[in-house]
């Protein structure tokens, strides 16, 4: 009885840690989908790109995976800005030009297909370069545990959790305290206010999308700390990431963190009770229930 209680407690705790990690994976989508209304379904592919960047830094240069991710940040930021520029020219601007004559659903069809294509190209590209073998990274803290009585917290989960929370808090501060950050939030809510602030919405959105992809570098690095990675792993995260963002209420970081931890706990309990191969189905269930019952998210009105 006691042992199973400990098992449950540990499952819940590692679920919370896992959820913290999910928050880092989802925060990019909370920015792109929640604030910019760009449905970047390729985000998990960028996360994997981040994992492989950390893998290269770690394996070939002996860097800590998180340090490698920090070095990769500017490149990911630039990549994000470039992707947004293409998206803007091909879809958003075309949309603006033909305001009332563009079929509405047709435009979103093409935008979504664009990102689906990117997802696929990235995945196949990674397969061509790295093959389908699982890759992992080395770091002193991987494999160690922090023990406190019956509680055992593996550093493999604890370090990503901390990195993730630092990222979330940092971005939250950036969004609320800086001019650009407030402009990004205005893009989400009110284009007019943005124009009054004399900010160019396209530039603001480019920066925001760059940031969203930059978070993928960190998310990818902590992903490869938590588990070994192969190119198609990203797909498992699509359902998760969007379930978290929808459940959290689009655009709200605090809602997203709560949703991420909820999902982390539910998934961990599911795999403890029914076996790990069932865990991927949890996010879909959560997503469907959210969409069917409460599309405005748990903290929504």
């Amino acid at each position: 009885m006691d042992a199973s209680y400990d098992l449950l407690l540990n499952a819940i705790l590692s679920g919370l840690l896992l959820g913290g990690f999910y928050a880092a994976v989802s925060i990019g989508v909370a920015i792109s989908f929640g604030m910019l209304d760009i449905v970047n379904i390729a985000h998990p592919a960028f996360i994997l790109l981040g994992s492989y960047a950390a893998f290269i830094g770690n394996t070939y240069f002996g860097l800590d995976p998180i340090l490698a991710a920090v070095i990769a940040l500017p490149f990911f930021y630039a990549l994000g800005m470039a992707v947004y520029q293409v998206y803007y020219v091909a879809f958003e601007r075309r949309d603006e030009r033909s305001l009332s004559s563009a079929p509405r659903n047709d435009q979103s069809l093409r935008g979504l297909s664009f990102f689906f294509g990117l997802l696929f190209i990235t995945e196949v590209g990674l397969v061509m370069i790295f093959g389908v073998d699982y890759r992992l990274v080395q770091a002193s803290y991987i494999g160690e545990k922090y023990s406190l009585g019956p509680i055992q917290l593996p550093y493999r989960l604890l370090v990503p959790f901390i990195v993730s929370m630092v990222t979330v808090v940092g971005l939250q501060l950036f969004l609320s305290k800086t001019f650009v950050g407030r402009a990004i939030q205005a893009v989400a809510q009110d284009q007019l206010a943005l124009r009054l602030m004399a900010a160019n919405p396209v530039r603001i959105k480019r920066i925001a999308f760059g940031l969203s992809i930059a978070t993928a570098a960190l998310g990818g690095a902590i992903l490869i700390i938590i588990q070994s990675v192969e190119p198609s792993v990203g797909r498992e995260y699509i359902g998760r990431v969007f379930a978290i963002c929808v459940l959290g209420g689009l655009g709200s970081f605090s809602g997203m963190v709560i949703a991420a931890m909820t999902l982390g706990v539910v998934e961990t309990l599911t795999s403890t009770l029914f076996g790990p191969s069932w865990a991927p189905a949890v996010s879909f269930g959560v997503l469907l229930i959210t969409l069917a019952v409460r599309p405005s998210g748990i903290l929504g009105r």
């Binding site: 379904i41 069809l109 196949v124 879909f284 969409l291």
Partner: protein, 317 residues
């Protein structure tokens, strides 16, 4: 009305004649490679047209192609284990029915919301169906399942792959005739209204939710039917191959490349991309042939949003 029935009948007749001619040529060549290749291309015509009924006509993007396709395939595996003697056409119908039901259910739960939520739900659906199948030992689970392919085709003689090819051609005739009939019926006008502006469609009396459900059900059902013969074609099916993302990318890329506004687009796209992939597979590498559909899709949605058909049509009127 009468003239549209007559024109549909003529169209079906023309399709059947074309299908017979294609099969006749294949028989004359008598090379089983030609049949294996032909099967893949025709399968993609079916898959692309099925996707287009929802995606192209109503503008709702289904990323969960593999879910529907694999439901068809795994329903065949299950039926094969339960009733090995069941003729394949029955299995195709049953597999299609399962997939259609899943389409209806997913649509019912998510189609009241903005279109992107439906797309996201279908992405997740693919992962979940894969999880379910991976955990279902009866159909082989993660290890996969073997299906014994008979040596000879029933009724018509020759290799079994010829039979598979004929079935897929028949399915293709049905799907294309359906797609064309939709385009010319009030259903097609309703779909187009939904694609252009849903609120305006409602105001014009179009029951948008009902029509969207019809589209997801038909589209899902046809994808399931396209997947049902797969176990006999590959003889060994495991979740990794049954849920291969290639199916989804091809099914979406081919209509987008060919043109989404009419049944011609997916056919053009499937023949061109399918042919190109085969050439690349033989000459360069299998990774390159996989990549080409994704790259072409991105290029086309950016540079030629109305596909090949749009390039030839030019500005309408």
């Amino acid at each position: 009305m009468a003239s549209s029935v007559a024109s549909s009948a003529k169209f079906v007749l023309a399709l059947i004649v074309a299908a017979c001619a294609i099969f006749g040529v294949g028989r004359a060549i008598g090379n089983s490679y030609a049949f294996f290749l032909g099967y893949v291309v025709v399968q993609y015509i079916v898959l692309g047209t099925a996707w287009n009924i929802l995606g192209g006509y109503t503008g709702y993007v289904n990323f969960g192609v593999t879910a529907f396709f694999a439901i068809g395939a795994y329903s065949t595996v299950a039926l094969y284990k339960l009733i090995p003697a069941m003729p394949l056409p029955f299995m195709i119908v049953i597999g299609g029915a399962f997939a259609a039901l899943v389409g209806l259910g997913t649509g019912y739960l998510t189609l009241r919301l903005r279109g992107v939520f439906f797309s996201i739900a279908t992405l997740a659906l693919a992962v979940v169906v894969q999880t379910l199948i991976t955990n279902w030992d009866f159909v082989g689970g993660a290890r996969g399942a073997y299906v014994l392919r008979p040596k000879l085709a029933p009724l018509m003689g020759g290799e079994y792959v010829q039979y598979l090819f004929v079935l897929m051609l028949g399915l293709c005739v049905i799907v294309l005739a359906t797609a064309r009939a939709i385009e010319r019926s009030s259903l097609g006008y309703g779909f187009a209204a939904i694609r252009d502006d849903e609120a305006a469609a409602e105001a014009a009396g179009v029951p948008t939710l009902k029509l969207k459900l019809i589209a997801t059900t038909l589209s899902g059902g046809f994808m399931g039917m396209a997947g049902a013969p797969l176990p006999y074609y590959v003889t060994y099916l495991d979740p990794t191959s049954g849920f291969n993302l290639n199916y989804a990318v091809n099914a979406i890329a081919m209509p987008l490349i060919g043109g989404t506004s009419s049944w011609v687009g997916p056919v053009l796209g499937a023949v061109l991309v399918g042919g190109l992939q085969e050439v690349l597979r033989v000459t360069i590498s299998s990774a390159a042939n996989v990549l080409v559909a994704g790259v072409l899709m991105v290029v086309f949605v950016i540079a030629a949003p109305r596909g090949i058909v749009g390039l030839f049509e030019g500005k309408r009127k």
